[in-house]
Every structure is written in structure tokens, then in C-alpha cells.
Symmetry: C2
Subunit: 257 residues, 2 copies
DNA sequence: TTTTCAATGTGTATTTTAAACACAATGATA
DNA sequence: TATCATTGTGTTTAAAATACACATTGAAAA
């Protein structure tokens, strides 16, 4: 089976299995070297970058589709994943862009006419531990890697807007939920946590007040261990105590920011 | 054309015009007699109540579909309307419920097989001025009226959950945006505003502190008029100054709650 | 070995914000 | 005209956020 027929066959098979006009797109956030990053895919034989996304199977919950896409792209299960917005404008797909890509995939336009149709996309964002992820391209892409959020290229279709909305949502949530902790490894230092918050909020924070407030929430557990090896004084390691966090939520309010 | 053929014809025509497997559902909030209310429809010849909703046309933005549905149901344009969540579980539609309804509509099951298919619904909530709304049933319903949020019947499919998520979202937003003002008439008194907040937050608030804080936000304009006619001392009328609100947002933060 | 130094760990004073609280004024009703 | 439930306003107190300073650490340099 040559490449063209193979691609056609794959796509034709997909058509019957999926819900038409619907897709999921995932904004995968990671934190590395004090910068917020997102995972992007580069389409085969092109310089076009896009969010990891995919179709929803006929009998599959939309959330599950997002989980599936993410597992394929990151190798991770059980990610922190949140639906944040659905993008439903008819002009969000520009078929000229799309045709260029499909041509490179050696896929016949007629065979994929349904893919040209208008698509409504449910947007999810995931928070992952950077070091745990093994970026893996899919059938349609050559490359999968992290991009600094401040330096994204022009993305496929409206994916720049999707990222922007995801970032805005993440910042808002940060004000009343410790979402940021999902971006750090299990053990982390207070300065690391602070730098994450500073990056997300886009402003410097007072070291002493930050620590005071974080500890006041009473869901961080200080370990006896310290982060050794780094230059200068070794900071303590902390762990996010999810059980205690649940207890704090039960017992009333919680306010970050 | 008898009723059966007419309904079949209408539905067949709809099939070609709409995007399959996709719908919008609207939670229309109103405030009356110190209670939060939602607009519900009762299906023809049944006691089944449901949210106003509808299909999305092939070339229509999803947001526009929601606006269109709302205009038909409330007679209002330019409503405060927010997308809040997309409901995409395959088992959210129970075809047994659905069949009972369709039978009452005298619609042949075969003719509407696509309608039985799994449907992903984009949820919107609208905030409207109660007195301005003229509830109007659609082709499939006999009745359209307000229901107290605390006393809803068992609704169609997963509409109870949709309402619950909408209420939760509304309460959260109230903490950092004066959404509540969209539920009041143009001119309102401070006690009226306070009762709205108390209802939405589900707790009593101190009258003097409430007024102090609201006025501190600096987007309420006190008029010389007073609400006369009521028993006892006549309270001042206020107006929400949207221009000043925009200015306040520009100039930095804003925190309700 | 000792010194250096950039970063961490901790505490207190100050300001700002939210919460608690009390009395005078009003205007329809009795 | 007396009543009274409600409105209008200010002050006092507590809590939370902010500003700020010095001792400690541990690798690296001298």
C-alpha cells in the first residue's frame, strides 16, 4: 500500500468512527527554566505548528477524547486536565491553510471533504510536570516539542487564540486554586514555587510574604530534606499534601492571588 | 398537510441545515421577589420541562445560535450571555425519555433518527432583567415560564446538572465581576442590590459594609431620585455606570466577594 | 583552611482592608 | 400626630496584606 492510499484509507476509516464537525484541542502547559511552556506539533513536511488535538469517537465522552490525545502526545495518564472553552466560529478554519497541509500529507482532497467542514473544537488545558513528559509526534506530524509561551510562532487556524484563552483561564484560576502545583515535581522548594507564581502572574512577589501566605493555606508539607547541590544555601523541600488540601476546602474558603 | 407530515417535514428540513450531534442549551437567569429564577419550557402534551436550546446552523457561529434561541424565547436582544461549559458525555441523552416526547409530538421515530444520536451541548447562561422578558414557547413546547432555582422539577436529560454548573459558575464569577447588575433594572436601590447578592451568595450581608464596598468600587451612580411608593423611608436609586466600570477595570484590579 | 557571596530562613512594624457595631432620619400607615 | 419598619451614615475593632532587615547557610573562590 503506497503512502497516498494508506493515508486515504486511514482517513476514510476515521470518518465512520468519529463525530463529524467536532474536535478537541489541548493546551499542555509545562514549567521549565522559569518559563511557562506549551507542547506543539509540527505537521509533516511543513513548518506549521499546531496544538495537539483530535477527533471524538462516536461513543466516547469528550473528556475521554482529550485524555486519549494527551496520553498519545505526552505518554502520561492521570493528568490535571480541564475543559475551559469551546471554539465554535465557522471561520475558525481556513481551508487554504488546511489544503496546503493535506497536500503535504499526500491525502486527496475529495477523500477528506468532511475534514474541510466547519469544526467546533472543545478546548482543554493540561498541567504537567515538565520532566515527566516525552513529547511524541503523531501520524500527521514530524515533531513534538515545548515552546516558550512568550515566543510562539503563528499557529494553525485559531490556535494562537486558543492558547491565549487558556493562559487567561489559568491565571484566573490561580487566584482561588493552587493549580500551579500540578506544574511542579512532587518535591519542590519554596523559591521554585514562588518563581512559578511570579511567571504565571507576571509580577515579582515578596519572598517572605509569599512563603507566609503559602504556609498559611496549610496544605504544604515541609520535608526534612533539602535541595542540595545547587550553589549557596540549600533550601528545604516541600510537598503538596492533597489530602490536607481537600480538608481545607471542606472547612470553608480559600483565596490565592 | 396533517400534523404528522408537517412535523416530519419540519424536522427533515432541519436536518440538512444544522450541524449534527451539536446543540446549545441556555440557562436564563432572572431575579424576582428575592429569588433567582430560570426560564424553562414544557414540551407539548407532556409534563417534561427543559432548558431552552436549539441546533446550530451550518454556517452560524455557536454563540449566534445561543443568541438566536434566546431571542426567540425571551423576545430580547443584546443579552448578557456567557458560554460556561460543554456537556459531552455520550450517555447524557436517554433515548427512552426522548422517545416518549417525540411520540407526543407525532413525529415518526425513523424520520428523526439523527436526533437520537449522541449530542454534545454547549452551555450558555444569560442574565436578564426579569420584567423585560416575555416568555414564549417554541414549536415543540406548550409553555414557557420562570422557575425558582430552589424548586426545580426533574428536567429533561442532564439539564438539572447543566443548571447546577451554571449556578456554580455564576457564583464564582460574582466574586470578581459585577455580573449581578445585569439581573436588575436600570435603576435600582441599594437594598435591592444587596438582596440580589445575598441570594446569589446564599448568606446575609451587613447592610452598611455592603454599601460601603459597592460604592468604593466607584461604578455606581447615585441618582437624585428615590424609590417612592414603598412603605417607609424611600431609598435612593442607583445606576450602573458601565463607562466608569470599564475605566476601573483598566486602572488595575477589582475584587468582589 | 578561610573568606566570600548569593541565596535562603525567619520576625516585626506598618498600612490597608474587612468586620462589627449604633443611632438619627424618613415617610407611609394607623 | 404618633408609630415603626426601613433607610442613611459613621466609628471602632479585628484581621489581612504589605513593607522591611538581619542572621544563616554552603558551595566556590581565595
Amino acid at each position: 500500500m503506497d503512502q497516498v492510499t494508506s493515508a486515504q484509507h486511514w482517513m476514510a476509516q476515521q470518518m465512520g468512527l468519529i463525530i463529524p464537525h467536532l474536535s478537541v484541542d489541548c493546551v499542555v502547559f509545562g514549567f521549565h527554566e522559569n518559563q511557562l511552556r506549551v507542547l506543539l506539533l509540527r505537521f509533516k513536511n511543513t513548518e506549521v505548528w499546531a496544538l495537539p488535538g483530535g477527533r471524538v469517537y462516536r461513543e466516547e465522552p469528550v473528556n475521554t477524547a482529550a485524555v486519549r490525545v494527551l496520553e498519545q502526545r505526552t505518554g502520561l495518564r492521570g493528568l490535571y486536565l480541564q475543559q475551559f472553552h469551546t471554539f465554535g466560529d465557522p471561520d475558525r478554519l481556513h481551508s487554504s491553510d488546511f489544503q496546503a497541509i493535506l497536500a503535504q500529507q499526500n491525502i486527496r482532497i475529495e477523500a477528506s471533504s468532511l475534514l474541510f467542514d466547519r469544526t467546533i473544537s472543545v478546548g482543554y488545558y493540561a498541567l504537567v510536570e515538565f520532566a515527566q513528559v516525552s513529547p511524541a509526534p503523531d501520524q500527521l506530524s514530524d515533531e513534538c516539542r515545548w515552546w516558550d509561551i512568550r515566543d510562539l510562532p503563528k499557529l494553525f487556524f485559531d490556535h494562537n487564540e486558543i492558547v491565549a484563552v487558556a493562559v487567561r483561564t489559568l491565571r484566573q484560576r490561580l487566584s482561588y486554586e493552587p493549580v500551579g502545583l500540578n506544574l511542579l515535581p512532587e518535591k519542590f522548594t519554596m523559591p521554585e514555587l514562588q518563581r512559578l507564581y511570579e511567571t504565571l502572574l507576571g509580577q515579582p512577589l515578596d519572598r517572605r510574604n509569599f512563603q507566609k501566605r503559602m504556609l498559611a493555606y496549610d496544605f504544604l508539607q515541609r520535608l526534612d530534606e533539602r535541595r542540595t547541590g545547587g550553589a549557596f544555601k540549600a533550601p528545604y523541600l516541600y510537598r503538596f499534601d492533597r489530602e490536607r488540601y481537600a480538608a481545607v476546602l471542606q472547612g470553608g474558603g480559600l483565596a490565592f492571588g
